[in-house]
């Protein structure tokens, strides 16, 4: 093609020091890329927006479970009912994990998968094979793994090497959990309108499994690097860390995946048994990548980095702002290059979206509490087992959906309509559960159990 011309090859930086796969200390990389390093360090600053950043003191983010008591009620029987706080900047990820009272219950060594620059340790554990070390880690307790991490000298929060190839600084993903998850997604036939490279791979030979580092476009990598961690997961002792995308990325598809899943011991998959109702329920964690995928931004090729790491002019050059934070603190760069409207108007648009989502979510909170209350009462009155079972099934569906949006960190912004749809279903299932119990109490378990069947 006569129009092709090589862009003038020029190294965009001078390498003062060599960096390699085992250099997890960002300070070392900072010698070569001081601008990015400086902004990276700013993630230690306290940020705060209406729903984002964190409320609470510099020392400790606010307890979500105190702010929204229905969360605590929903998690009754699980460590999240002990301590569950606002998230904050990347600089804190390791510290905040080590501080959480959730560790008063046994936790898996795999917790470090997303809270530290853990790859060298995985390789060490697996005798050079990171995948092996990754599986190994789930058999260790958090405390054992944590000790090894500190010995190994790699006790850093997410670092340059986790997202960048040290040879050429291009983006790459490193996390085994994500790689397995995205490969399962590619192998499925779930629609992926926002991830073109997966469709391309599906249409191809499929001789080798989908490899994000080989097959994804640069633009997709700008979201994949975040998808390494900002995703729903199972991270307990009974099986290796699992990212549940084998049937798709929607709340419904992931629920179907967990419903079909079994532990190695053959038992049906479950996160915990609700302390008051006895329902075998699921826990959703920060499905940012999953929800974003359902939105029109994702469909339009707008990536996490576009909004959370917008380019910023630094003197004579433009660099990616590594101060990963709420875009609402940065609307002119994070939104206005694409949206030609006032900063104020853009903030209001986001706020309207978040307010609607917040209201519907609180409605869901009231509904789930009512269901739990009804179940407790019904048990006290000796409700028929099949009636209770039907109600428990509905509680599982309702909680999953409510938690999916409550645990997601954009207060619905990443996919406004989808988030509202999921909350609408959550409310319906919670109320249906209550109805099943009330009908049951009227001595017709039949009808009730029937009514509950999907």
């Amino acid at each position: 093609n006569i129009f092709e011309r090589k862009v003038e090859e020029r190294t965009p930086y001078v390498r003062l020091v060599e960096v390699g796969e085992d250099d997890t200390d960002p300070a070392t990389w900072g010698k070569n890329w001081p601008v990015q390093y400086d902004s990276y360090k700013r993630t230690a600053l306290l940020t705060k927006t209406r729903f984002g950043g964190h409320q609470g003191s510099e020392s400790l983010p606010e307890e979500k479970i105190d702010r929204d008591p229905w969360l605590k009620r929903m998690f009754n029987g699980y460590a999240f009912s002990i301590d569950y706080r606002d998230r904050r900047g990347h600089a804190y990820m390791l510290h905040d994990q080590e501080e959480t009272k959730r560790l008063s219950k046994p936790q898996s060594g795999s917790c470090l998968h997303c809270h530290a620059s853990v790859m060298p340790l995985y390789r060490q554990l697996g005798g050079g094979d990171a995948m092996k070390g990754f599986e190994e880690s789930s058999t260790l307790s958090y405390q054992e793994m944590s000790a090894k991490l500190h010995e190994s000298g790699h006790a850093h929060p997410v670092s340059c090497v986790d997202c960048h190839d040290p040879t050429d600084m291009s983006l790459r993903v490193t996390r085994p959990g994500f790689v397995r998850g995205i490969q399962a997604l590619a192998a499925s036939d779930a629609p992926v309108p926002a991830l073109a490279s997966i469709q391309l791979w599906r249409d191809g030979k499929r001789s080798e499994p989908y490899d994000p580092n080989r097959d994804a476009s640069r633009n997709e990598m700008r979201s994949y690097v975040c998808g390494q961690c900002h995703v729903e997961y199972y991270c307990g002792g009974k099986m290796p860390l699992t990212v549940p995308w084998g049937q798709g990325l929607t709340a419904d598809a992931i629920e179907a995946f967990w419903d079909a899943a079994t532990f190695p011991d053959g038992e049906a998959f479950v996160d915990y048994t609700h302390a008051e109702t006895g329902a075998p329920v699921l826990k959703a964690q920060h499905p940012e990548f999953e929800l974003w995928n359902q939105g029109v931004h994702a469909r339009s090729g707008v990536t996490c980095a576009d909004c959370h790491m917008p380019y910023v002019r630094e003197g004579a050059t433009k660099v990616s702002d590594h101060w990963v934070r709420s875009p609402l603190l940065n609307v002119n760069r994070a939104c206005q290059t694409c949206h030609r409207t006032s900063e104020d108007e853009l903030k209001q648009r986001a706020d309207v979206i978040q307010q609607r989502n917040y209201d519907l979510m609180q409605r869901g909170g009231a509904a789930i509490v009512a269901l739990i209350d009804a179940a407790v009462a019904a048990k006290a009155n000796g409700v028929a087992p099949e009636v209770l079972a039907a109600a428990q099934k509905l509680q599982r569906r309702a909680q999953w959906r409510l938690d999916f949006i409550a645990a997601e960190n954009s207060m619905g912004f990443h996919a406004p309509q989808e988030a509202a749809r999921v909350l609408g279903e959550a409310i319906d299932y919670a109320r249906q559960g209550e109805i099943v119990l009330l009908r049951g109490a009227q001595e017709d378990g039949e009808v009730a159990a029937g009514a509950a069947g999907r």
Binding site: N1, I2, F3, E4, R5, K6, V7, E8, R10, P12, Y13, D165, D168, M169, S170, L171, S217, R218, N219, M221, R222, G301, D306, Y311, R313, A316, T317, K318, V319, S320, T337, C338, R340
Partner: protein, 165 residues
């Protein structure tokens, strides 16, 4: 502008088969000028012309700065090529509306963004970047030339003129 390239382009253009009619109508020679007015000799370019005047670049860049390649020979080849294609399509009215920059046109655009802004963006035009890259400047700066997307739909097709089912 020198006569050699002009002659060259006209030849290429005519050889490429521009109908005399179009050439008069559209002042096909306009493809050998850089004056934006030349482009609006085709009313079809009017929306982009109007929008360009209100967009951020109108005082620093004219149409050809962004839409035509800038090394000598290819510039005139492209002009002739476009001149022929646009002219042909214009006379036959066979083109999709709203008009949208095609892949080739996008590559030229990207190249021209870099031509003027290389110093600023060299840091972000990283290893996996380049003009064949899927993260072109217009991913974020689509508005630099014309602000919000411009252009209007074409006339009703024959299918539409018949019942619509």
């Amino acid at each position: 502008m020198g006569t050699l390239p002009l002659a060259l382009a006209v030849c290429v253009g005519i050889a490429a088969g521009i109908g005399g009619y179009t050439f008069r109508y559209a002042k096909g020679l306009s493809y050998l000028q850089t004056d934006p007015k030349a482009c609006v000799n085709c009313h079809i370019m009017r929306p982009q012309y109007d929008a360009w005047q209100k967009a951020s670049h109108h005082h620093v860049a004219v149409c050809v700065d962004c839409h035509l390649p800038h090394d000598f020979v290819r510039k005139y080849l492209a002009k002739a090529e476009n001149g022929w294609r646009h002219g042909e399509k214009f006379t036959t009215q066979r083109f999709v509306e709203p008009i949208v920059v095609q892949a080739k046109g996008r590559a030229i655009l990207q190249e021209n963004c870099l031509r003027c802004h290389e110093d600023l963006v060299h840091a972000i035009v990283g290893a996996r970047a380049g003009i064949s890259d899927d993260l072109p400047c217009t991913h974020c700066h689509a508005g630099v030339g014309h602000g919000e997307k411009t252009g209007i739909g074409g006339p009703l097709s024959n299918e539409e003129r018949r019942a619509a089912r």
